[in-house]
Each structure stands twice: as C-alpha cells, then as structure tokens.
Symmetry: D2
C-alpha cells in the first residue's frame, strides 16, 4: 500500500520507515530538498519525495492516503491547503496532537468534498521506530478498514506484550496496537485522555521519589522553636539515605508499579543520578489541559489528573502571585514576616 | 479573678491587658525584669511580675490559674517545671499551639497530682487585643465553669457579630466567643481544624486572585507552534487588566466571599499593591499538617485542605526534585529538553 | 434615573425594589400580567410594567437602560430580540450569570448598531435586598459613569463594612460595592472568579467540619486485623463529641475564619443541627467550572478550586465508574474482594 | 539454606514454594495441623511444620532465619513471643505490611538480646509465585548478605525485565529484584512509598477511564436552563461510545502508559466489561495513608498521592457530611434546594 506523509520530523520519518520496512511505499513532503535526499538514499525506490503539495499529491495513487504529522498549531492550515488538491474518495489523516474539537470541525468541512478525514492519536515518542506506535483512530468504519495494512505495519503488533489471559484466536485490533475508537475526533479524544493519564502517573512516581529523596531530613533538622516553622516531631523516623536510582531499577521487576515510564525513569537516573541536568521547569503540551476541560464538561472528577497538571504550572513559577498573597495574609492576621530562603 | 500568665509575648500580653481592663488582676512571668517593668507601669497595681517560677506561683492565690502562652515546642518543659510547684486543685492552661496529642498525655500525667489541665486554642492573632480572642477549650466541666469570668473578658463577646437569627435569650458561650469543646485536647483539636480551614480558605482567595492577575495573558502571548508549549487558543478572552487590590475591596461588601481574611487582604494590598515586599515563601506552622493527619486517621477526605498545605510546601521549593523527575521522564520518552525560563 | 428590568425573579425584583426605594423609577417586563400587578401595587407609580418587549421599550426614556436578569441559558436570545427594538445610544446590561465569552461576542455584535453592552456580575443571593448587591462591571467607561446613580442604589454602600485602614476621603467605587473591572466581559470574569473562590472557601469549611464531625471515631473503631482495612493506630486520639453547630457559631467572633459564609452556616446548623434535610448532592452552576478553565488557559495552578469543584461532582455519584476501576485493579493484583458497606 | 516461615497464607506459602523450588528448605508455622499437612504433601522432605513456636524454633538451625508473614496488626505480638525463644545471632524478619516506625522500635528492642531484625517490604501480590517478589529490605549489612541466597530465590531475577541500557556486567541486587534500602525500617519505608505511588497511578488510570466512559454525555444531555445545573455548552463534543475495555488492551502496546497495572486492568475488563461485579467501595490498607504522613513530616508536596487516597475515602461515603454542609451553605446564601438524584 502507499502512504503520503507530510512532515518528516522524528515521528513522521519513523512511521515511514516502519511501513517501508514492511513492504509498503511512501511519498514524503518536506520543505527542504536535502531532507528528502537523505530519505531517498536510506529507503531506496520505496520512497519518493516532493517539496510542493502539487507534486506530492500527483505522486499518490487514488484513492490517496495523506498523513499529516506536524505540530498541532500548524496542522489546520496545511490540511486546508492540501485538501484543495485532493479528490473525492481521498483520505486525509491528522496524526499529530490536535485537539479533537478540530477533528469534528474539519471532518464536517471536508465531507461535502467527499474527502474522508481521520484522526490518529499516535503514542510512542522517540521509541516508536523500535517499539511501534500505539494508534488511536477516529473516522469512518470503511476508511479504517481500507488503511488497515498500513496500521498493522505502524502499530507494535500483538507480540509486543503477553496476550491477556482469556484472549484467544485472531488478535483483535486493540491487541495489535491500533483501535478504531469512534467517529471523527474519537482518536484524538482517546489520545488526549491517554496523555492526561500519563501526566497523573508521572506525577505519582515523581511525588513518591521526592518522599524517598527527603527521607533523611531528620538527620538535618534543626531545633527551631519558632512559631514560623513546624519542628519535625520525630527526627528518628527520617534518617534514611535512600538510593533513588537503584529503587527505580528495583521496582521494575515484580512490583506493582512496574511500567514503561518506570523503565525510562531508571534509564535517566542511571545516566544522571542527581538529575543535575534538569532545572525542574516541566512543560505541558495541550492534551493534559484538554483532558481536564473534558472532565469538567462531563462533570467527572479528575482530582489526580488536575493536580498533576497544576504541579507542572507551579514548576514554572506560576504560583508566585498566589504565594505572595498568602504571605500577605499571614502578615495581615498574625504579623508574620516571611522567613528567608535557607 | 486572678490569672497567672507565663509568656508575655504579643498574645500573652494582650490577654493580660484584656482581663485587667475588665477588672481582673494578673501575675506575669517573664525572663527579663525589664519586660515586667513595662507592664507594671502600664497596668498599675493590677499587675505583678516574677522572673522565677517560685515567686510567680507564690503570688497566685489558690486554686491557682496558670496560663502558659509560649511557642509550642517549649511548652511541655515549662508545664513540667511549673507543675512541680503547684498544689492539688490548681489549674494549668496551655493557650498556645500544641498538638492535641500532648494535651491528652499531659492531662493524664497531671491528674494523679490533682492538678487540672486545660487546653485553650486561641485565635485572634495580632488583632486579639481589640477584637477579643476566640477560645476553643478542652478540659473538665467544673474547671471551665470556674474560670468563666476570665474567659468572658478574653473572648470577643456577643456584640462582636450580629446574632444568628433564631438565637434569643441569654447568649450561649459560643455566642460570646468561647466554647468548652470536650475533654483534654478538644480545644486544640478544634483550633487545629480551624487553622486547617484557614489554610484552605486562604488558598481559595490566593488562587482566584492569581487567575485575576493573569487575566491579560492574551495580550502577551506569543505565537509559538512548539510541541513544548501549549499555545493559548483564545487570546481574545485574556485581555483584562484587573485591579486586584480594588477587587478585594469590592468583595468586602455584599459578596458571598466577604470575610475577615478578605478584609486583611484588602488592607495588605492597599499598603503594597504589587505585593513587592513578599517573596512568596509561605510558612506553615503545624496545625495545617496535623489537620491532614487527623483527616487521614479518621478516613475523611480533605482534598482542599491538603492541596492548600502542599502549595505552601511547594512555595518553598520542596517540589524541585519531583519536578526534575518529571523533566527526566519527558526526556526519556519523548526526547524533550527542558525549555529555559522566560 | 429610570431602569428597565427584564426578569422579575428574586434578584431582578429586589434590584428594582432597591432603586425605587432610593427614588429611581423602573419599568419591568414579565410574561404574566399577574406578576406585574403585584409589583405595581407594591411600588406604586414608581413602577410600570409590560408583558411584551415593544411596550417595555416604549415606556423607557432614551437613552434606555435595559437590565436583563434571567437564567444564563436564556439570556442570549432575549438580548437579541430586545436589541432589535433599541436605538443607538441605548444600554443593555446582562446582570445574570453568563460566561464572559458571551459578553465579548455580544458587545461586538451590538457595537455596529450603536448599542452599548455591559455585563454586571451580581453577588448577593437572597440577601441582596437587605445587604445590597456587590456589582462587578464590564463595559465602556462612559456608560458606567452614566448609570452610576443606579449602581449606587443597588450596591451595599460604604457603610456595609468598616473602612479599610488607610482609606480616607471620598469612598472609591469599590468601597461602595461596585467596580468597573474592564471592557466587556470583565464583570462576568471577576464574578466567575468570585464564585470559584466561593467554591474553594465553602469546601474548606465543609472538609474541616467533617473532620470535627468524625472526631469520635476512636470510640467506635473495631479491632479489625484485616488486610483490607487500616486499623486506627491511636483510638485514644479520636474520642471527642464535638458540637459542630456551636463551633460554627463560636468561630463567628474573633477567629481568623469569620466570614459571611460562616454566618450562614451557623444559621443553617441552628435550624437543622444534623443537616438531615440534605442528602449531600451538591449542585454547581457554571462559574466554578469556568474558573478552572480560565486557570488552565492562563497556565495558573488552581489545585484548591478544582478540588472543590470535583468534590461536588463526586457528591453526585460521578466517581462511581472510576471507583469500580480501582476495585477491579485491586482484585487484579492482590485478589482483593470489595468489602461490603458497613 | 533454611528458612523458617510464620504464616502460611498466600504470600508466605508462595515464598516457601519459591525457595524450596530453588533447593532451599523451610520450616513452617501454622495454627492448624491440616494446613501443614497439605504443605508437607506438596513439598516433600524439603518442608517440615510446627503448630507451636517452641517446636518451630527447635527445627531451625542456628543462626535461625525467621520470616513473619502475617497481617500487620498481629505482627508485633508474634515477634515478641517468638523472640523469647531465639538466641543471639538469630534473624527475625517482618515481611508483612508493618508501618516502618514499628521496625525502628523493634530493632532497638531486640538489639540487646543480640537478635538481628530485618524488615522486608514485599510486593507481588497473588502473582508473586510466578513473577517473583520485589523485595525492599531494611536491616544490617551483614545480615542482608547472609540471607542473600534466599533473597535471590524469592526475587524475580534480572531476566524478569529487559536490562536498562548502560547496565552491564554482574547484575546489581536491584536488577535481580531485591535491594538493601538502609537500616531498620528502610525496607518498609520504600515499600510504603511504593504503595503510595501505586495509589496515585491507579487513580490516574481510573480518572482517565471515567472520562472515556462518559464521553457520550452530549447524546444524553437535556436542555435545562435551571440555575441549579450547568448545561453542556457543546454537546457535539461528547458523542462518543468508547469501548473502554478495548482501549485498555490497546494501550498495553506501544503507548506511554503501558504498565503492569494496565495489564491487570485489561484482564479484569475482559472478564467483566461493565465492572458490574464491583460496587465502587475502594479499600485502603495503611501504606497510602502513611505515605502522606511521611510527605507531611518531610514538608514534601504530595497533591496527587493524597488526592488518590482521599478519592478512596470518598468512595466509601466519607464525604457525606461535608457534602451536606455544602448544600446547607448553598441554601443559606442562595435559597437553593438540593436537586433530587436523577
């Protein structure tokens, strides 16, 4: 089967590599000729490139399959431009991190032209080439079936994890690593929630590791009887020097919290045991925010996922004004002056 | 009635002033003669002082009433020392911020000697002299009744707030601003929860004010299409320059969030509209922590009170290691590098 | 001055009463003649009514001031309909609980017609007639100045609270209980955050009171050594029967958490000490949700305000599926069966 | 090597099975003869049993290794009783879920007798026989080394997970699935935090899955314009019928949230797709609570872990009083009556 890929950044490029390795062919769009040249050299005659959309579209056989894999903020404009060149029956896929609201709008806008729209939330990060990409798909039943050979090549495949006990026979799509989640937007919706969960799980590890990291606070505590500070009641309980990197390695085997995130954490801590290459300003990139908005719209509690999101905001200094207000209030009712940093 | 006060810091001194003003007499203990001299000059023959416990106790008429008003960390040792000098039937009161666990232990330890122990959680801060102190009392029924004339002088009195509709006749103790909450520890237990609530309410204002303060973010937002940052979807919705100090003043009248904390906030913001005298390191002093511990012991959810406490920890940099872990994870799965501070 | 009021529900009616009492006149729109008749009888010739918009508009002197005070969901359609009948220079005010996004859209839509749009977030609830309404205003500088006589009559006035120390001279608008917060939408923005704070502060009290309410759990605890339950380590610390209604009354005087919300809580607990008339299903009505959305858009942490919102969702059973997932996981890794309700 | 095991419940029995399978021998204590008989039949001459401690101790060769694997509430008394029968140089291990405070006390109490105390936090649940147990160990360096042959048999071994890139040569203890974390209590401390993280991660999945589960709320939403309810602004965004069981299966391969907890969740959802065998009352068993207490003592923020814990409390109805307070407040300021359950 043939795939057209717009955007040959890390993820787009690796998706192309996975399908070509499986015997499919690809047409790639990139702005710079040099980028395409590298690809042609690497992939041989299974790959052709284009630096303009017209040529890109012409190299694709109808019904065309166009996968757009670029930053979410730029996706809409590209889809609009490319759609002008497509024919009825063609398929356009947003594989990036768009908000699912956009998918609903775009699919409606493209329907009158007979162009099929799909959104494919794609998880896998820098590891996708090797591990395969987990694909969460929104769109029409027939189109998902149509592109299934490609999906199978991109996804991890059933052998990527032990089969769930009780699952037998032909593996389901989900077992192979791709799933048609519903109509337009459903793929990005599920991917959004996936990332929301990711934020929460990451924060769970991070908070726990912080507690381990401070477990020797009793050895350092002063003897302050100031009304501004809480003395540690039981310093004898906090005398441990826990080797956090080794603990993360330990938990990878046999524990309840074993996970791929933990594998990666252990890797990073092996490279940088003190995490001295990090300053602690944690980015967030949309899905975590949208997950909370969806929870609020649905009236569903999300205290853990939201706490994880807000901790990221706070890591970037965004609590500062609120904290000053608190200190001002304390001065107001109790005459308390802020203590200096230690 | 006569009161012995150990500790003539702000709160101890003002309690003495309130009772003397109401016709009672006081004996004060302080380490420095000079501190006592000031008091004697101010209060005349209603006040006598001592710089040693023996003399302090001798100046008190039996059954003695000894109120200890010093930092929580030092209270236990002082009570032990003074109790050695007291007689059966005497009363010793911890008016500071001890954990209520201590009260239970102390009351048991003093009972065999016939000494009555009371804990009086005292709220009012620097305003107590003028407003009166809200008194939350743990101890025995008879002893609370015995010292009631003093309590009435220290507490705000019924006229400090409009009577609750439906309350008629002789005002209850609670209406006068003091309440016997239960046996030993009950006073500090109620005071502890009071402060836990205080933390939560303060954080509610602070978070809301932060949202107001950032309401013009749409006027500043860049046009980043980076995968590391969430672009603001609707900058047109965040173009407000809200005058936060005036808003706090506004809400003092007629709004649902009118409160004494808000009164103080408006005062502080009038003095320092940009809060530039604060660095945003918010102290916490025990009760907020113990409130969460009590909630956990009881199996009672306290998501708001705990979030307020943790925000204070975070304001002091205590999230840093967790934040670094998050950035390390992001690097691990997505190759993300931390963005520099703006 | 003359005010036109659309919607004579509790708040609309009481606003009319306040301005008429202050010497202004009003024209009221209501669907039912009977409702208007009551008003005419009560207010005499200061009030005239209309059951159709045309007549309503005709009774107003230009430039007309039309205040719409109806549920948020219906406001947009009414404004559209009435605006058709207005002339350039007229003012239309949304005093209800619209999302501020709507204000921005409406003000833009009405500008070409020369109609001035204002949004006035109005706090005060059922108490506004007596206490006055706290008014948070978005709109144009000139129009706010124009209607100021009405605002002064509706707002509580400076005497509703002690002046903040340091404020002297002619009271500012905020001190009188109304404030021009910014252009269209700013009023509802500030009101939205006000309600977000309200949710957080309410939850702070509610959580604290729950901790007080369960303070006798040690007297009831069994002696379970089951792996499914956490035994209470120190039952001796939880032996208190706290009189929560009296505690709320107590805190009204002299404590740091004194507030209008606490006044109301004490009132309700006097009427119904066991809260037996409530089932614990807590509604939320928009502003709390929008506050969190604004925080997320701004990248500002709101852990307390969001925890308060989510607790309301949870009170309505919306955690159920998540809770079942947790129990299923526990069964999965530990073979744990759910314990029955006690 | 020989191990004495007190408590032949699921975990104790499976630990015995793992060591015997690896060539070690065991002496088991159980109250009932019948339980021992089954074991003797299953394990042959590698196992002998005792129904009294004296006989149990006599069957062990000095220096004895006694592993106590019983519910935390009963462990202390058993250790006290058995220790009376042990000799200097013997080792006693608490493999259960004691709070680490107990370990510190016990190790101090046993030291004068020359008995070595170890705490081994043991994770693995019902899967440990097959997967091996992750062992978090507190105690003395020499004793850990002494029992290492047993630890290697009980732990999963390095092959249980792919080696972390960069780790070469002889696998570290952590890689083999056991780790000496520090002196007495360190093992249970790390296990405690492990479970705290487990609670947080579980809640992250559960919240996310709840959001997926409610993704069709727009198809059901009424058209309420009540001030008591927030109408759904954009019902078109919530029209998805997500197959949550298949999504959990999907995420097992290639996604960032792949984990052992997710594996188990997918298993449970395959067995019971609607989770109809669960009522949603989620137990918690100590470690989650103690983790928050440790965080608070250390002054480390734990908003996610605490939110997860409180959601469990709430699932068991423990928010009810707080929720009633909120409804009472709403009635107080706004005259709102609670809406009935739908």
């Amino acid at each position: 089967m043939q795939l057209g890929m717009i955007g040959l950044g890390r993820m787009g490029a690796n998706i192309v590599r996975r399908i070509v390795k499986d015997g499919h062919t690809a047409v790639g769009y990139a702005r710079r000729e040099s980028q395409l040249a590298e690809f042609t050299e690497e992939l041989g005659d299974k790959f052709t490139g284009a630096t303009d959309y017209k040529s890109f579209v012409e190299q694709l056989e109808a019904p065309r399959i166009v996968w757009v894999m670029i930053p979410a903020g730029a996706t809409g404009a590209v889809i609009d431009e490319v759609a002008e060149l497509l024919d009825p029956g063609d398929i356009i896929i947003d594989g990036g991190n768009s908000r699912y609201h956009e998918d609903i709008k775009r699919s409606k806008a493209l329907a009158p032209k007979g162009i099929h729209y799909m959104d494919i939330g794609t998880s896998g990060g820098v590891w996708g080439l090797e591990r395969g990409y987990c694909l969460m798909i929104g769109g029409e039943v027939e189109q998902v079936a149509h592109i299934e050979p490609l999906l199978r090549s991109i996804a991890p495949g059933v052998e990527a994890a032990p089969r769930t006990p009780g699952r037998t026979g032909e593996p389901s799509r989900a077992e192979q690593g791709y799933l048609h989640c519903g109509p337009a937007g459903a793929g990005h919706f599920v991917k959004m929630v996936h990332n929301g969960i990711e934020y929460g799980a990451m924060a769970a590890y991070a908070e726990g590791m912080n507690i381990l990291h401070k477990a020797n606070i009793g050895a350092q505590a002063g003897d302050a009887h100031s009304a501004e500070e809480t003395p540690l009641d039981n310093p004898e309980y906090y005398q441990y020097d826990i080797d956090v990197p080794e603990v993360t390695e330990l938990w990878r085997r046999g524990s309840v919290v074993a996970s791929w995130l933990l594998d990666l954490t252990a890797q990073q801590l092996l490279l940088d045991p003190e995490l001295s290459s990090f300053g602690g300003r944690v980015s967030d990139s949309g899905e975590g925010r949208w997950t909370i908005s969806a929870a609020i719209d649905e009236g569903v509690p999300a205290p853990v996922l939201s706490a994880a999101l807000f901790a990221r905001f706070s890591s970037r200094g965004e609590s500062l004004y609120a904290d000053k207000v608190l200190s001002a209030m304390r001065k107001g009712f109790g005459g308390h002056n802020e203590l200096p940093a230690k």
